[in-house]
């Protein structure tokens, strides 16, 4: 409790310093992570293998202006970070949102990334760009083993673009590319089948109308191709999701590219994830994932993780265990414990922003 009060004071001080006033709901984030591995800077010392971060998020700034958004900021023993998110929602037609993050490590390395997404009716666009002079693991030591591949180069520029177009209710066409470490493009389709049950009509309804249905779950099929530097393959995938929130996903790639041994030849990739909300109590979320993608030349070829979020007291506790094999062939694993504490402003339940 003492720690929480200290955190509150710190946040208020930080918020006041940043903005003059901190209005609305603000979250305070505490996180401690530890990872093994000899490729950590100064490996061997507990201090170097441990990362502690304290930050604030969801701070409303510039309220009432066209660029009203939310700010987040934090400091760890590795870096100082600040992020700014902007959004506009036009229900039911669509929404636009963007997010820009900057992190500067104590060694002077810099990582700047920006992402914008927009959805309007049947079209969605997602574009991201980043510039960095230090590796992702210099800021977050566990960054290499996330479900989505992380560009592990020490410096560079990267960009990605993905467009989704809803051809009809069940069919979505996908087109996109990744540029930077391993330039590539992908194209594909997604088809969804609803698992439904029919609802009983009420008295006096027009009998010629189609009966209303309720969804009990969905099956999504994916098929496509990926081509670019050191990769040419076909892709396929399947997701099963229930209305209760349980979601199982499996994706595969087969083609020609970098193999596990580092040579070029027939290769494959396999990613799988399970998401189970409320399994560890109401409001909790559990996700297990594994990804084996030796064809990616700039990311960890093997990534495995378990992530849990549990409501605890006024806030929520997060537990992450991740591991894998790095491009250099070394293996490692790490764990992170975090706590997000909402401070006043709103009595609405908080969400687990990924």
């Amino acid at each position: 409790m003492k720690q929480i009060r200290a955190g509150k004071r710190m946040t208020v001080a930080l918020g006041a310093a940043l903005l003059g006033t901190a209005a609305g709901a603000v979250d305070v984030d505490f996180g401690v992570s530890y990872r093994t591995g000899t490729d950590v800077l100064g490996a061997g010392s507990l201090w170097q293998q441990t990362t502690a971060r304290v930050g604030v998020s969801n701070v409303s700034v510039l309220g009432g202006t066209p660029v009203a958004g939310t700010l987040s900021a934090g400091v760890s023993n590795r870096a100082v970070d600040v992020g700014y998110a902007l959004g506009l929602s036009l229900p039911p037609l669509g929404a636009v949102s963007s997010r820009t993050d900057l992190a500067v490590t104590w060694q002077g390395g810099l990582r700047l990334s920006s992402r914008a997404t927009g959805t309007a009716g049947p079209v969605a666009l997602n574009a991201g760009a980043s510039f960095f002079t230090t590796s992702a693991t210099a800021v977050d030591p566990l960054a290499a083993w996330t479900f989505a591949p992380t560009d592990l180069r020490n410096r560079g520029v990267a960009a990605d673009l993905a467009a989704r177009y809803r051809v009809n209710r069940t069919l979505v066409a996908v087109l996109g590319g990744e540029f930077g470490a391993q330039n590539q493009g992908f194209v594909g389709i997604e088809s969804r089948r609803d698992l439904t049950r029919v609802l009983a009509p009420s008295e006096g309804d027009d009998p010629t109308l189609e009966p209303a249905t309720e969804r009990t779950g969905t099956l999504t099929f994916r098929a496509g191709a990926r081509a670019g530097r050191d990769i040419l393959g076909v892709t396929g995938g399947l997701t099963y999701a229930t209305e209760a929130g349980l979601s199982l996903g499996l994706d595969a790639l087969a083609g020609r590219g970098q193999t596990d041994s580092g040579s070029t030849g027939l290769t494959y990739g396999l990613t799988a994830s399970v998401t189970a909300p409320d399994l560890l109590g109401e409001g909790s979320n559990l996700r297990l994932y594994s990804a084996y993608e030796p064809w990616r030349t700039a990311s960890a070829p093997l990534r495995v993780g378990a992530e849990a979020i549990l409501p605890l007291g006024p806030g929520e506790l997060s537990l992450d265990v991740r591991g894998g094999r790095n491009p250099s062939g070394t293996a490692g694993f790490g764990a992170r414990v975090g706590y997000r504490l909402p401070l006043g402003g709103s009595d609405a339940p908080q969400d687990n922003t990924p």
Binding site: G87, P91, P92, L93, L209, S247, A348, T353
Partner: protein
């Protein structure tokens, strides 16, 4: 689309008290008293609406718990909006976008300022009295035999200078709306929607109305 939302709001609004001409008032009073015991209301709106120039198929379900100020709109058609969900309560408007599997969360204050609902306060969906006070309602005609008469009402927005009208058909059997029309100043029908699967006290819960896909990415705005 905002016209469509106006209609769905009117459908709920027509369920309870209102103002206007005496005969229309009587009908609305009956609807109101039929609704007084309603803990929850749900119905389906289906038909066509002219978006820009072309007519589009519209199909959505509306669920509401007025006492808790929770309302949910779920689209089945057009294809571009199918499976999108909008949930509003006193604090925030949540929008689920099927195409990107994202949920946007907008505080009510911000949502009211943005153009999405064309100045219409979506959270008032469950506050019919407030809503109808902004409309003049009159009785256009009555058809059918006693016991199952159908009343046609017309609502005109007060004081906005708009000459767009909304027509609502109310059935005596159950005192509930069966059809909605939005008519432009040139007497062109912009939207024509049937009200079906109409239920009250179906045991809806606020949690069920708020439920959105749990694997969606959440974007706070």
């Amino acid at each position: 689309m905002k016209n469509l939302l106006t209609l769905s709001v009117l459908a709920l609004a027509a369920l309870s008290s209102g103002a206007g001409a005496q005969t229309a008032q009587d009908i609305l009073n009956r609807v109101d008293s039929a609704q007084k015991s309603a803990k929850d209301v749900s119905f389906r709106l289906s038909g066509t609406a002219s978006l820009e120039s072309s007519a589009q198929k519209i199909d959505l379900t509306v669920k509401s718990i007025p006492a808790q100020s929770v309302a949910r709109l779920q689209f089945l058609a057009p294809d571009a909006l199918a499976d999108n969900v909008v949930v509003a309560d006193k604090n925030e408007v949540r929008q689920y976008l099927f195409l990107t599997n994202q949920i946007t969360v907008t505080p009510v204050k911000k949502a009211a300022n943005s153009a999405g609902f064309g100045g219409l306060d979506f959270t008032q969906l469950s506050n019919a009295a407030t809503l109808l006070s902004q409309y003049s309602v009159k009785l256009l005609g009555t058809t059918g035999a006693a016991g199952s008469r159908l009343f046609q009402l017309e609502a005109t927005p007060k004081g906005t200078g708009s000459t767009d009208k909304a027509r609502v058909w109310i059935t005596e059997a159950g005192w509930r709306p069966t059809r909605l029309q939005l008519v432009s100043s040139g007497n062109k029908v912009l939207a024509d929607l049937n009200v079906s699967s109409y239920k009250v006290n179906a045991g809806l819960t606020a949690a069920a109305l708020r439920a959105l896909p749990k694997d969606a990415q959440i974007i706070r705005q």
